[in-house]
Amino acid sequence: MSFESENHAEAYWKENLRLMFTLLSIWALVSFGCGILFVDELNAIRVGGFKLGFWFAQQGAIYVFLVLIAVYAYKMNQLDRKYNVHEDHDEAEEAEPVLEEKFGQ
């Protein structure tokens, strides 16, 4: 176990899951919500030449996806550091034996 304690491992995993589910809710909201289920309602709103629902379906959702991955990568790096489970050269030397040694055949 690379964590300082069982509690740490649990807390790290919980925070990870919370972040993941938050981001996935936004993911579902912009694509399945704005782009598909509520597309007709949103189409009543116009931004320039775009009907908003149409824009979400063919443009907006993709931009949001990009932001979501960027936020995830950034936040997870912070979380890794907070619980001291990040990968770095100085730690690599005293790191746990890699998986292959433990479970390999």
Partner: protein, 568 residues
């Protein structure tokens, strides 16, 4: 210089580039061959992933499909990008930490079962072959139009090139060639889009251009003109679709989940040095993909307006066939456009009702677009090179998955565990050589329509791999009985549904007959749900996974201590 000479020069130059890279990056070990030595920078890996991902279908067919489908085309746009969010958040980092070469290796180890590994190998090979057949077809189309050789010769030339760098360089050769191919294909895609956007709307950025006013001084928005034209000509309004909401929902979900479950996409994240890089790399990949995917709907709407305007003429009464622009006559030769003078007025007319006299294949829109918009010849040649780059890069990635599955998962881990690394590498090369030949054969004699075959690959990936991997990471208790039962029931259901409607009873493939109104393209989503439900039910009544496996799962959930991806 005429278009054909230019095309030969530009395509020839790109081929020389790919071969040069292949020689420079020969693979020396299985590690090089399978995962490029695990030392690819996340940015380069993102680019390679994007090229790997964006196939002939994305480059050649997608904008054309959207052009004819309007709003409904969003299923491809969201479906084929949204999967990367799932990959980045739920799969890539954990699979990278796990640190093996292949998806079947993960399934086999996580579910401590040779049977699970074998099921996964078969799924991987099947999915990859269905997918690769479509790519070779794309190469053939490009060759036959622009180099005026027949499709068979085109496919053979394409296979020769792929053979060279895939067999020689493995993942290492493929990755660096794909970086070059990405640059070629994105440049080839954006240049005509920007040209046309400026011509039609005065806006340099196509993504904004297609929501702008037309540059003809009328003050109408492009999309409004398109909606108006569609209404006049008896099509559905461009910005609303014809598919039912439930079908759009299920197709989008199937494509998203399928993307995240495709072995040739997942394996890309084994090639980066760290878990951190796997997350980042998914972001880079999506950025590079989004460049093309947000441009595609712009091209689609530009092309549609242009096409209707040139065929129906400025007065919307039709253009005399004798004055037909050269792109129509050029493409008539390939049989992808045809005109039948129903009212015998000598004029071509295009519409969505019985006045229609034109048959236009969707696949030509991107390739013909520069000709329709009267762009310079070098742009047209560039698009040909881009189409070939897209098809080659994807085929190479798929061939690698096939050869890895055979040499590593099937031979090394199943049938001949005692072979040395050198022998394994030889087998990997033989397997990819055989795969190239099979793919070439499938490209020359394609099984049914390419699009149907691709729908198959996504449905199967969505209903087999995705749930098995997700549960393998997020549920420590999930055991082999559950995973195997889940994969088998998901894939059987999905395959049966698709085969029934696509091959046994294609005449009955109408919304009235579909289960809950879900088309075969979207059924993978339901297959995935079945997989999850069956797996959890079976796992509940069988013994939970052994302690060492549960520890392994705990171990892949944090980055620290990730080694290089390894074989053993």
């Amino acid at each position: 210089m005429d278009i054909q000479t230019l095309t030969f020069i530009i395509v020839g130059m790109t081929f020389a580039l790919y071969i040069g890279i292949a020689i420079w990056s020969r693979a020396g070990s299985t590690n090089d061959f399978y995962v490029a030595g695990g030392g690819v920078h996340p940015l380069a890996n993102g680019m390679a992933t994007a090229a790997d991902w964006m196939s002939a279908a994305s480059f050649i067919s997608m904008a054309g499909l959207i052009s004819f489908m309007g709003y409904d085309g969003a299923v491809y746009l969201m479906g084929w990008t949204g999967g990367y969010v799932l990959l980045a958040l739920c799969l890539a980092p954990y699979l990278r930490k796990f640190g093996k070469f292949t998806v079947p290796a993960f399934i086999g180890d996580r579910y401590y079962s040779q049977t699970a590994r074998t099921v996964a190998v078969i799924c991987a090979i099947f999915v990859s072959f269905t997918y690769v057949a479509g790519q070779m077809r794309g190469v053939g189309v490009v060759f036959s139009r622009f180099l005026e050789v027949d499709v068979t010769t085109g496919v053979i030339i394409g296979m020769g090139i792929v053979f060279f760098y895939a067999v020689l360089g493995g993942m290492k050769g493929i990755t660096y060639t794909q970086v070059a191919q990405y640059c070629v294909l994105i440049f080839a895609y954006l240049v005509p889009a920007i040209f046309i956007s400026v011509m039609m709307t005065g806006n340099v950025i196509p993504q904004i251009g297609f929501g702008s006013e037309l540059a003809d001084g009328s003050g109408t928005y492009l999309l409004d003109k398109l909606d108006g034209l569609s209404a006049e000509l008896g099509f559905t309004e461009y910005t609303s679709g014809t598919k039912s909401t439930i079908d759009v929902f299920f197709i989008t979900a199937a494509l998203m989940v399928g993307t995240a479950g495709l072995p040739h996409v997942i394996v890309r994240f084994f090639t980066v040095p760290k878990v951190r890089d796997a997350r980042k790399s998914a972001g880079w990949a999506l950025l590079f993909i989004a460049l093309l995917y947000t441009t595609a709907p712009a091209i689609a709407s530009f092309a549609r307006v242009n096409m209707i305007d040139t065929i129906n003429g400025p007065d919307a009464q039709g253009t005399a066939y004798t004055e037909a622009p050269s792109w129509i006559t050029n493409w008539e030769k390939t049989g992808l456009i045809s005109w039948e003078d129903k009212n015998e007025d000598g004029k071509m007319f295009y519409s969505g009702d019985d006045r229609n006299e034109m048959k236009i294949d969707r696949d030509i829109m991107v390739l013909a677009n520069p000709e329709i918009a009267d762009l310079p010849a070098w742009v047209i040649a560039l698009v040909a090179a881009g189409g070939i780059a897209a098809a080659l890069s994807t085929s190479a990635g798929l061939l690698l998955v096939i050869s890895t599955s055979v040499s590593h998962d099937l031979l090394k881990r199943n049938l001949m565990p005692n072979i040395s690394e050198k022998q394994e590498l030889t087998y990997a090369r033989i397997a990819s050589a055989v795969a190239v030949c099979v793919a070439g054969y499938l490209g020359i004699n394609p099984p049914g329509f390419v699009a149907q075959v691709v729908a198959f690959a996504f449905g199967l990936a969505a209903s087999s791999f995705f749930p098995a991997i997700i549960m393998g990471i997020f549920s420590k208790r999930m055991n082999k009985e559950g995973a195997i039962a889940g994969m088998l029931s998901g894939i059987t259901f999905t395959a049966a549904y698709i085969i029934y409607f696509k091959f046994i009873n294609p005449a009955g493939n109408v919304p009235e007959n579909w289960l809950f109104g879900i088309s075969p393209e979207g059924i993978g989503t339901l297959g995935m749900v079945i997989n999850f439900v069956v797996a959890m039910a079976v796992a509940r009544v069988t013994t939970e996974s052994p302690q060492d496996v549960q520890e392994m799962v705990a171990n892949i959930r944090f980055p620290k201590g990730a080694g290089e991806a390894t074989a053993h």
